[in-house]
């Protein structure tokens, strides 16, 4: 018996196939994962992401605290509601987690961290928060639903209170706002437009049903994984973990090196790696032969072996794609060992698909 979100019973009623996901009983699909994937690329789909951990951080010095805690710089967040993607690092620059942080007011930020890392994250955050007198509150009272796809916002908006509709539809990319008892943010993990919506747990089923009636297709975590991989987005625990640092995880763009005097946790160790040059890099891989890339397959390159960190069949490209950690000097052609056969693969720059369009061929 795993942990259950407020929508669990509804998923079962709707015919979902339930699997264990980091201790949570979650829907992996409601029938066809590929149809769910296409719904998000072409129209609108929704995901129950209530297993993720929402935490509110409050205190007069919360901004100063987060400028120390996170590798990206919340000084970039100047208008209320603006969100930032960041890594949270150990002192040795190993990645504790990746997360989204929202600036809501000078004394209130909100963080969304991964489900599987919630306990260690909250311990770590609280441990560092004490010196800044920042209070950390896990929002177990909230559920979260992601509506994603080119038609997602338009369809979802028809079922939220009329008073908030215009404001919600005007939200810019990576901005969130309170809309009555909904917190709506224009964020996602699919490479499509859409919202991630936090709402009181007891209202989750009614909202889910209303959106289902509005033509938004329920989608499971299976489609969520193929969508994020096509979008070239990392999955914590697969593509990076505490034993890897951001510069070998395709996340250099999330490190705010300026201003130089901001001493975030992990900075000194990461600066050393940067100065020497990272020995490895994370790249996109497109399989040229038939087969399916999977995590942990060996990647053979001219400069030594690497490893697939994620791999799947891409429903949009109708071929296999993945992410791999390989020697820094790896060129355009590699081989992947699939059940003892060496198959040809091409190194590409993710994303593979964005806003419904293939970016590789």
């Amino acid at each position: 018996m795993g942990l259950k979100t407020p929508l669990y019973a509804r998923h079962v009623e709707m015919g979902a196939r339930i699997v264990d996901f980091g201790g949570w009983d979650m829907p992996v699909n409601y029938g066809s994962q590929i149809e769910e994937h296409h719904a998000v690329r072409r129209d609108a789909g929704m995901f129950d992401v209530s297993h993720m951990c929402v935490a509110d951080l409050r205190g007069a010095r919360v901004r100063a605290f987060l400028r120390q805690l996170l590798a990206n710089d919340v000084a970039r967040l100047q208008s209320p509601g603006k969100a930032l993607y960041s890594c949270m690092l150990r002192a040795d620059a190993g990645i504790l987690d990746d997360l989204i942080v929202y600036f809501l007011s000078e004394s209130w930020f909100r963080m969304v961290v991964n489900a599987g890392t919630r306990d260690k994250d909250l311990d770590w955050i609280r441990q560092h928060a004490a010196a800044f007198e920042v209070a950390v509150t896990e929002r177990k009272d909230l559920a979260m639903i992601a509506v994603q796809g080119p038609k997602a916002r338009e369809k979802a908006a028809t079922r939220i209170p009329a008073a908030h509709r215009a404001a919600a539809l005007e939200l810019g990319t990576f901005v969130g706002a309170e809309c009555g008892d909904l917190f709506i943010a224009r964020t996602g993990y699919t490479g499509e437009d859409g919202w991630e919506v936090m709402l009181p747990a007891e209202r989750a089923v009614a909202m889910w049903n209303a959106w289902s009636e509005a033509g938004i297709k329920p989608c499971g975590l299976g489609a969520r994984d193929t969508l994020r991989l096509e979008a070239g987005m990392n999955l914590y625990g697969s593509d990076m973990n505490e034993a890897t640092h951001p510069l070998e995880s395709g996340l250099a763009w999330t490190i705010a090196w300026e201003p130089a005097e901001r001493d975030f946790v992990g900075r000194a160790a990461l600066a050393k790696v940067k100065a020497q040059g990272s020995a490895r890099k994370l790249v996109g891989v497109l399989l040229e032969d038939r087969g399916v890339l999977r995590s942990h397959q060996k990647v053979i390159t001219a400069g030594g072996d690497g490893e697939m960190t994620s791999g799947t069949f891409s429903p949009t490209l109708e071929r296999s794609i993945g992410l791999a950690r390989v020697p820094a000097g790896t060129g355009a052609q590699v081989q992947v060992d699939i059940r003892g056969k060496l198959l040809a693969a091409r190194v590409v720059k993710p994303p593979f698909v964005r806003n419904g369009r293939p970016l590789v061929s």
Partner: protein, 131 residues
């Protein structure tokens, strides 16, 4: 409730076996198995002539999510792999007992399919796995 044709034999690992008129055995995965795997996107079938032992991996079926081995229900020599699955692996989902067959083999012994389960026994096996 998954479909379990009465005229086939089954294994605990969810393969089915059909005895053809010429004595060769046709092998596939059950409706229950294809449903559990989800949309299949790649199938690897064995080459003609390959000798397999009962219990050996003899084919691989891959869904979007994962790769799964298919085990030889009996020992024998592969006479044919289903070439249609190279381009249309989804036949295993849409017609698991028909066009979605995986391989045919000539069993080592005449009574090659002894020890396999009947449809009733397989149905009971599914019930016991579910509980």
């Amino acid at each position: 409730m998954s479909n379990i044709p009465r005229d086939l034999q089954y294994t605990k690992s969810h393969e089915w076996v059909r005895t053809l008129a010429n004595g060769t055995l046709e092998i596939g995965i059950t409706d229950h198995a294809q449903h559990a795997l989800g949309d299949l996107v790649f199938v690897e079938v064995p080459e003609t002539g390959r000798e397999v032992n009962a219990g050996d991996g003899c084919a691989v079926v891959e869904s979007v999510k994962a790769a799964s081995d298919v085990y030889a229900p009996v020992s024998g020599a592969v006479t044919e792999g289903n070439a249609a699955l190279v381009d249309t692996p989804e036949l295993v989902n849409t017609d698991p007992y028909g066009a979605g067959w995986l391989l045919r083999l000539r069993p080592q012994k005449a009574a090659g399919s002894a020890g396999l389960m009947s449809a009733d026994a397989y149905a009971k096996h599914l019930e016991s796995e579910a509980s």
